[in-house]
Symmetry: C2
Subunit: 430 residues, 2 copies
């Protein structure tokens, strides 16, 4: 690594804390609500406007934009050997409906900052380096999320994805058409290509780095996740006349079901994550006994066998609590726990040392697009602290110095992989 | 009553089973969904269209329309002494979002049938007889319901009512303006006037008459009702990263709250009615721990003291279950149990005998506009069977013969009160 020390130091001097912060504030205008909230759901008008701004920023420094069939957006700094697989860096810019300014946006803007620093430093690396903004990581409008990286990696078929609908009945295919119309002048590229390495910076979304006072987390892996949709069908009835003995109240059955699931999935060590985030009642009128309830289950655990066992208990638990109602349980997603490339993590640890950034290893509680890149190439993630561990919320906050630290390590790592010899890269993939 | 026997028999011969059925089928087109469903919420476009049809039908037989400031709609058959307080007959034509063809509509169409039979029979009664269609009985769009009759009777102030909003933020005042614009050519009348008597026919919305095979229920009274809004505030958090120990999950607290309320309000005799019909979760996204839940409580009991005791237990029970969340409980409505005029019920029992209609006394589990008329004049209700006791549902059904029986008794009762001497009426009010 010694022969790279000089270029990396030169590059590092051009990674700008203030420019990076300004870009975060500017991007946050797209979908802004309240003082610091962001509602920029995937493939929405706000998302389209944010993408256009990103393309403008990239073009100003000579980056080459391109879009693939699932609307993943790329900004390319061509390398000296442009036919080689590129180094990919980035994250996503869609948000939850009640999101903040940093989740996803930080990874994409850190990538832009790394590329701008290379341009300013006059560095043209061996391999091309590309910023990527993956489509619909959050999965709040179209579930499940990580749609763009899943399609890119082949984890899910494009044909299946485009048929999905949002709660208003709009299909992904229609939403993609709207984006394509707005971006008619951008070059198109096919779905999926060989990648030399992938690095994704992200806010931690947990309290660990902040509590430790450490700006850099080298992410060891991502816990496994299973998601389910539970549908409970009872019978509507009049609130004033229907005796309780004859009711088939879908809401009261849902109450019993959630209480039973909470018991089944309880974990004294507080490692299991069990969340019911979406819950809808029909017809949802004050004097009508509910005839139908539909809710989501989000279940996560870092151990594959435990996740298997807990997830397999969901449907039997729901059925046992159904009483006189009908219950249907559909599994939507089963992602195994994942460990990131040990070689890439070692490189990042060394580079953090050279940049004098204190760092620690950390596990990811949340899912990220890096999950889908991990089978394709050396892939990894850089976490930075966020205040109180809060994300998916208007109050989400990361400090300019921490954003800067993450972008510095990203720039150095991207350059390392862009300059790596074929043998060094092969070593990483073993 | 003997001197009325001949005109009542003459009138009875003109009450048409088939015309009454056709009118039900025709009115059900306004807001129709599925095969037999009706979604005709108060002051909606569908409601406006149905009102226009009703006015057309009334004018065809010489009835005089009028509308008051809360959009209660009247069709008047002028009496021989038109300065006397009229006899009011009717119900409502708004429906629940997933309603049927008979709830409310039957009372209004039976009133139209009674008036048309009087016109056909050449009967001009002493007092005027007026059909009334009360505004927003159901309370599903604008809560609470029985808005028109409450304003008419003075039970609630018009100024308070018009400030209420529907879930889309539309105020009652705006919705009333839209109705007034559509009905610009109808005569206006002031809110509230003296009434000689009020009779409201309605489907039972319970299983009793059908099981007994009896077409007529003489309604003894209406059970008491209290309604509440419960608001639970926790904190949004990330489903993958937030440890359970630190969560303030509004949905899980709502589960505990509903379970506790069910225990507190349990009734071995199955007389108490406790329903949570509306339940909304925010932000309602699969990977966000819910930060807020708002739900409705509908609590009914025929005994005033029991209703008081149970309703008073709602807020303490919610607070005890709140855990780390904030909970707010607001009482929206407290209607005491009510007994209808004994004199009017005696008249209806006698007339049913003269018409050879089998009948029984029955209590009402549901609330009705008649509640608000009871303090003003002799008031009462006629129930007819509905299949399986089902209402507020597409499957709601009442047989043509039973609709006919109810309309026959209504016509006879209306004529009795319209012809009653001042002394007879005074006797009723004691």
């Amino acid at each position: 690594m010694t022969e790279l020390a000089a270029p990396i130091q030169r590059l590092d001097a051009h990674v700008s804390r203030d420019r990076l912060w300004s870009r975060h504030m500017a991007l946050a205008h797209h979908g802004a609500f309240g003082e610091t909230g962001v509602n920029r759901q995937a493939l929405s008008a706000e998302d389209i406007a944010a993408r256009a701004e990103l393309v403008r920023w990239g073009r100003e420094i000579g980056l080459e934009p391109a879009v693939d069939p699932i609307a993943n957006l790329f900004l390319r700094l061509p390398g000296r050997e442009p036919e080689l697989p590129p180094v990919l860096i980035g994250s996503h810019i869609d948000s939850q409906p009640t999101g903040g300014r940093f989740d996803g946006a930080f990874g994409v803007l850190a990538a832009l900052e790394a590329l701008e620093a290379m341009v300013e430093a006059g560095i043209r690396p061996r391999r091309s380096v590309e910023l990527v903004a993956w489509t619909n990581e959050e999965g709040s409008r179209f579930a499940p999320g990580m749609m763009g990286s899943a399609a890119f990696s082949g984890a899910r078929a494009l044909a299946d994805i485009v048929a999905l609908k949002d709660p208003d009945g709009v299909r992904v295919a229609e939403a993609l058409d709207a984006v394509a119309a707005a971006e008619a002048e951008l070059p198109r590229r096919p779905l999926g290509f060989a990648v030399a390495a992938y690095v994704e910076p992200h806010i931690e979304q947990g309290p660990i780095l902040e509590a430790a006072g450490i700006p850099i987390g080298i992410v060891s892996g991502i816990q496994g996740k299973r998601t389910f949709r539970v549908e409970i069908d009872g019978a509507e009835a009049h609130a004033g006349t229907a005796p309780h003995s004859g009711r088939r109240d879908a809401l009261m059955t849902a109450v019993d079901t959630l209480a039973a699931l909470r018991t089944t999935l309880h974990d004294d060590d507080d490692v299991t994550r069990f969340t019911v985030g979406r819950f809808t009642v029909s017809p949802n009128a004050p004097s009508v006994v509910p005839g139908r309830v539909v809710f989501s289950i989000d279940l996560r655990h870092p151990d594959a066998a435990t996740l298997q066992r807990l997830g397999d208990a969901v449907a039997p638990t729901c059925r046992a609590a159904a009483g006189s109602c009908q219950v249907g349980v559909t599994e939507l997603l089963h992602d195994q726990p994942l460990e990131f490339s040990a070689g890439l993590r070692a490189v990042m640890r060394t580079l953090a040392g050279e940049l004098e950034l204190s760092r620690q290893d950390i596990a990811s509680g949340a899912g990220h697009d890096a999950r889908h890149l991990a089978p394709l190439c050396p892939a990894g993630m850089i976490f930075i602290p966020c205040r109180g561990g809060v994300s998916h919320n208007e109050a989400e906050y990361a400090a300019p110095d921490d954003l800067h630290a993450g972008a510095r390590l990203l720039a150095a790592t991207a350059l390392w992989f862009a300059e790596a010899s074929d043998d060094e890269l092969k070593e990483m993939c073993r």
